[in-house]
């Protein structure tokens, strides 16, 4: 069994760092806060590696099949007998892999930040937020209960909000952090309702029981669930779709991706950690976590997952070809790569050879974390040097930033899928899975692979080649010293070598071993396309020329549309500003003040008016009273004589 103390330490150390630096950061560790947090993160990462080793090689498998175990769980909030939010640790291949990824990338980012954020005023706060994020992300991946996932899901959202808005005096950062939170919140609404549907159908919130009950054919829960449907779609499918919407929001899938490019307003190491390697893949992780339900109970929804992934992959790749802010290029690239993971899950089936897509998705998640974090940190070094995000302001930096240059090149080759770098292996598996199950998605993926190679090398050549950049600032700080170079080198090793891990031995849809091998004939086409992409990028961007402009002009409309991100942001602005704010919001506020409160005031006014009217009767004049008296006598007399007799 896994050691509870060790797993608890992995999770709680970042939380401790958050509390320590958040509460006492200013008074105790104004300078050394970063080092304290990094040390704690180092311990956490080492323990995570140890846990992974123990799980995969010591106790995890029996008879070649990896098992789930829950070494610790408590009831956090009881709703009624049988339904409760439990908080616990779920240890299985994907959660262990995620433990390693999250703690390792977080450690790299901590170290890198020691150099990158040096001289920043609120350093303890920054590291406190990093700790909060890491804690929340670890809680998410270890969740044993779907509501626990939701809890930590919201917490990573808020950490992301805090870190995007770290430079809070920049209005663009404030706008970006709000946007990120609200767009993902909208998606989370879907997730929440999905959870409610699942909990109602399965009468549990624990993953293992839930999956068991909803996937066993003929179980009571499946029978009951089958009696519910809405608009001709079964309750379970609704649940799965809604949960997937939550995942799509967090993973920036089309059309809920609009927050991700703006999120680049945060400090670059944050982008590397949250918006490239860990949080944005939470949606993929969620689908993987519930994969048996998707694959067995609601295969139709899995098709949707696949198509959303494929569409996101190609749209993001096209947009990435036209952006000039290097971080935004990387953001769209992230969205595109997550699209790959998503459709890999979408084309997968449950169990055995048919589950190749599942393995491939998790494999790509793993390798992508390495090379995308590397790309962001490399971009960080460049921005640190140039003090600008725009690729037009860069060029010829390979001399000034030699290590950044080499590591960046490795990452570009990895993401482009050139053997033997990591991305090649994982992407190859994804393409193979798509080829076997869904030809249309396979062709979309092929085109996207070519585009990926093109835009990555467009980025690479624009930064490191072409007209040399002239540094006018007085002090030259080069690559930012050891703390900034070390993470680049370590990640570059990962990006170069991670592909050789036989992933199918460890992570499969049903826990049993899956052999995967490279098929040379199959690889020729994608690698050829990638090389073609690189070649075109070289032709266009290696030396400064008017070729990019001419190419852009020749495809005019498409280029313009892609440059403006297909106007999706404008659509959202229209819906929120015009319809929600000026339409519903103003109407509600007006209605309340004028109609509802108007009625209340009208009641008051009427009361006053009536009392004004009748107060004249109490005039104090005896003649008046005599008149009323006389009138009363006459009326009564009339009544007695004619009516009542």
């Amino acid at each position: 069994m896994p050691n509870v103390t060790i797993i608890a330490l992995i999770v709680l150390l970042p939380l401790a760092a958050f509390l320590l630096l958040g509460l006492f950061g200013k008074s105790l560790f104004n300078k050394g806060g970063g080092i304290v947090a990094t040390m704690m993160m180092l311990v956490s990462a080492v323990l995570a590696l140890y846990t992974a080793y123990q799980y995969f090689f010591v106790y995890g498998s029996t008879g070649g099949v990896y098992h789930q175990c829950i070494p610790w769980q408590i009831t956090w909030l009881q709703f009624y007998n049988g339904l409760s939010i439990n908080i616990g640790f779920l240890v299985d291949p994907i959660s262990v892999i995620m433990l390693v990824v999250v703690t390792f990338i977080s450690l790299m980012v901590h170290i890198y930040s020691l150099g990158y954020m040096k001289g920043e005023g609120r350093l303890p706060v920054y590291f406190a937020f990093l700790g909060l994020f890491t804690f929340s992300m670890l809680g998410l991946v270890l969740a044993s209960n779907i509501f626990q996932t939701y809890i930590f899901w919201e917490l990573v959202g808020v950490s992301s909000f805090l870190l995007i808005g770290f430079y809070y005096n920049r209005p663009s950062a404030v706008a970006a952090c709000k946007k990120a939170f609200i767009v993902t919140r909208f998606a989370d609404l879907g997730f929440l309702i999905g959870i409610l549907i699942f909990s109602f159908c399965a009468n549990t919130l624990d993953f293992s029981t839930l999956i068991q009950r909803l996937t066993a054919t003929g179980s009571n829960e499946v029978k009951t669930a089958a009696t519910y449907s809405f608009m001709g779609i079964s309750a379970l499918s609704w649940g799965a779709v809604l949960v997937f919407i939550g995942g799509a929001g967090k993973s920036a899938m089309f059309p809920l991706h609009i927050w991700l490019p703006d999120a680049m307003e945060g400090p670059t190491p944050v982008s590397a950690l949250i918006h490239a390697a860990t949080m944005v893949v939470a949606g993929v992780y969620l689908v993987a976590r519930l994969f048996p339900v998707f694959a067995i109970a609601t295969p139709g929804v899995l098709q949707i997952v696949g198509w959303v992934g494929a569409v996101s992959a190609i749209i993001a790749a096209v947009i990435a070809c036209t952006q000039t802010d290097i971080k935004r290029v990387l953001a769209y690239s992230t969205m595109s790569q997550i699209g790959f993971m998503m459709f890999a899950l979408g084309v997968s089936n449950y169990g055995g050879e048919q589950g190749l897509g599942y393995t491939a998705a998790m494999f790509h998640l793993f390798t992508h974390a390495m090379f995308k974090a590397l790309l962001f940190l490399g971009a960080g070094s460049v921005i640190h040097y140039v003090h600008n995000n725009d690729m037009a302001a860069m060029g010829g930096l390979r001399k000034q930033l030699p290590i950044t240059h080499i590591t960046f090149l490795i990452a570009c080759l990895a993401i482009a899928g050139i053997p033997p770098f990591a991305g090649f292996f994982s992407k190859e598996e994804i393409l193979l899975a798509a080829y076997q199950h869904n030809t249309a998605i396979y062709y979309i993926a092929l085109v996207t692979s070519g585009l990926t190679a093109f835009y990555m090398f467009r980025l690479y050549f624009s930064i490191f080649w072409g007209k040399p950049y002239e540094n006018h600032s007085a002090h030259r700080h080069g690559e930012g010293g050891f703390v900034m170079v070390l993470p680049l080198v370590l990640l570059a090793v990962g990006a170069a070598a991670a592909g050789f891990i036989p992933f199918g031995h460890f992570v499969t849809s049903d826990g049993s071993r899956l052999e995967s091998s490279v098929h040379v004939q199959f690889s020729l086409l994608p690698v050829g396309l990638a090389l073609a992409g690189i070649f075109i990028a070289t032709w266009m961007y290696k030396t400064d020329s008017d070729r990019p402009a001419r190419v852009a002009a020749s495809i005019g409309g498409l280029y313009k549309a892609a440059y403006h991100k297909f106007y999706i942001d404008e659509v959202y602005v229209f819906i929120t500003k015009k319809i929600l704010f000026n339409g519903i919001g103003k109407l509600a506020a007006w209605f309340d003040r004028s109609i509802v409160d108007g009625l209340v005031n009208l009641t008051g006014t009427c009361t006053v008016a009536i009392s004004r009217g009748i107060k004249k009767m109490q005039s104090g004049k005896v003649q008046g009273y005599a008149l009323y008296f006389l009138a009363g006598v006459i009326v009564l007399a009339t009544l007695f004589i004619y009516v009542w007799k």
Partner: protein, 491 residues
């Protein structure tokens, strides 16, 4: 545990406040509030102890004194989990309220006297088991509100004070009618426990229920009888707003549940759907109306209408889980909104504005207050780890148990508000605290003083405590909620 101490202690405090002079007043009020909190905690401990020891009586620590034999009016007190939670809430909010009013200059003695009186009314209300006495304490809490707004208020204070007092009196009138209806149909008794044992014919219940529910509904700002809330809050002094939203609105919710729903289960069943519709409207409509507010106090007042809607929605759903959620929401909203008003007051004292558009960049100059604003904002939008999340999720899960389109649609509509809430909270919090410092004069502002820090930390601790470990509070409330819902289910 003698429950009468919960009435006597504030009474003693109030009298001592009147006898003191000058600078002593606030210390006396403070000491009184601390003792009340200690007493409330002691009550909770004693209560849990009794329950753990296996005492399964519905009401614990009962005491009964007959006051008017002829009409069966008596002082009958006793508590269940709901009362205990509400007493705790009252003591926390009143201590915080006393602290944030530390710098009140005008008529200090009268101010603290009225605050203590308000708390006294609330304690008495929450422990009373006799309708007449309960009503008496309810009225005790109305008059101080009128004076607090009318004398220490800002803006259109006379108008707001009148409106609030008249609307609440209107609610009281309805309650009185309903109460008398109960009295004459349930064997000439005002005693809640004995009325509960009387068989009241269903059609009589259908007749009386609206009076009681709507009457208490006015107090808890049930849509569309909520319009005293925005005006009342915007004019009230900080502590007044805190008491109003943190305690007074809870009197209404408690009354709806304890008196209307508990005593008239058939009536509750009859009108549940109307309650659900009204509260679902309140939740969404309140949230949208909040989005357009530019004054922080108006914003929090409208958001209260929206949040209180969750309580009423939970009550309307009539399941044990949903009612527990409603009660959790009452506690959570009481703490959260009191804290929100406290922070707004702190900001107003410094910047002399409550307009969101006129503030900006305050995180730089007022880090403590801004951080608290962030925390309370996150609580309001239902961030896990803070109390609001626990309450809302319990309501949602409870509401989802009834499986027809109507209940589902209402739940989804209510759940949709979490997005709108995020929009208005982030707008307000980000505009006030983030961005560049808007006004040169803000640069000289001083962050929270000790009493403000203490008040804020007290409420933050409660919010975080419930949010992190909700089990104890839910376990406190659930059995009591179950007794009420079992009656509805006819068990």
């Amino acid at each position: 545990m003698n429950l009468l101490s919960l009435i006597l202690l504030p009474l003693l405090t109030a009298v001592t406040v009147l006898l003191c002079r000058g600078g002593q007043v606030k210390w006396v009020a403070f000491a009184g509030a601390v003792l009340q909190l200690a007493l409330a905690v002691a009550l909770m401990v004693a209560y849990s102890h009794q329950r753990a020891a296996g005492n399964i009586a519905q009401m614990l620590f009962q005491q009964q004194y007959l006051l008017f034999r002829g009409v069966n009016i008596g002082l009958h007190v006793g508590v269940d989990g709901i009362s205990v939670a509400m007493v705790l809430l009252t003591s926390l909010v009143s201590l915080a309220g006393v602290l944030v009013s530390w710098k009140i200059e005008k008529m200090t003695k009268e101010f603290y006297f009225l605050l203590t009186l308000l708390a006294l009314g609330a304690y008495g209300f929450f422990i009373s088991l006799n309708l007449f006495v309960l009503f008496f304490f309810l009225e005790i809490s109305v008059i101080p509100k009128y004076l607090l707004i009318g004398i220490w208020g800002t803006g259109r204070k006379e108008y707001s004070a009148n409106k609030l007092a008249l609307m609440l009196m209107g609610g009281s009138a309805l309650i009185l009618v309903g109460m008398l209806g109960l009295y004459f149909t349930a064997g000439h008794s005002f005693d809640i426990l004995s009325i509960a044992n009387m068989p009241i014919p269903a059609n009589t219940q259908h007749l009386i229920f609206p009076f009681l529910f709507v009457g208490f509904g006015v107090f808890t700002a049930m849509f569309p009888l909520h319009t005293w809330v925005p005006d009342g809050h915007s004019s009230a002094p900080t502590a007044g707003s805190m008491f109003l939203a943190g305690i007074s609105m809870k009197l209404g919710g408690y009354g709806c549940l304890r008196v209307a729903v508990y005593l008239l289960p058939e009536g509750a069943k009859q009108y549940a759907n109307i309650i659900i519709v009204l509260s679902a409207i309140a939740i969404l409509y309140g949230a949208f109306a909040t989005m357009m507010q530019k004054d922080l106090k108006y914003m929090n007042a409208y958001s209260s209408v929206s949040h209180v809607g969750f309580s009423l929605l939970g009550i309307g759903m009539l399941t044990q889980t949903a009612v527990t959620g409603a009660l959790l929401q009452m506690v959570s909203h009481g703490l959260m909104t009191a804290l929100f008003f406290a922070v707004i007051g702190m900001l107003y004292d410094r910047t002399h504005t409550r307009m969101v558009g006129e503030m900006g960049g305050l995180l730089k100059v007022l880090p403590f207050i801004s951080t608290v604003l962030f925390i309370v904002g996150f609580c309001s939008l239902g961030l896990p780890g803070l109390s609001g999340f626990v309450a809302e999720m319990t309501v949602f899960v409870g509401a989802w148990q009834t499986d027809d389109i109507f209940h589902r649609a209402a739940t989804i509509a209510a759940a949709a508000s979490i997005v709108v809430t995020a929009v208005y909270i982030l707008r307000a919090v980000a505009q006030t605290t983030m961005g560049p410092v808007k006004n040169e004069q803000f640069l000289h502002l001083k962050d929270a003083a000790w009493y403000e820090r203490l008040a804020a930390m007290l409420l933050v601790a409660a919010i975080v405590g419930i949010g992190m470990a909700p089990g104890w509070l839910a376990d406190l409330l659930r059995p009591a909620a179950e007794i009420i819902t079992n009656r509805i289910a006819g068990k």
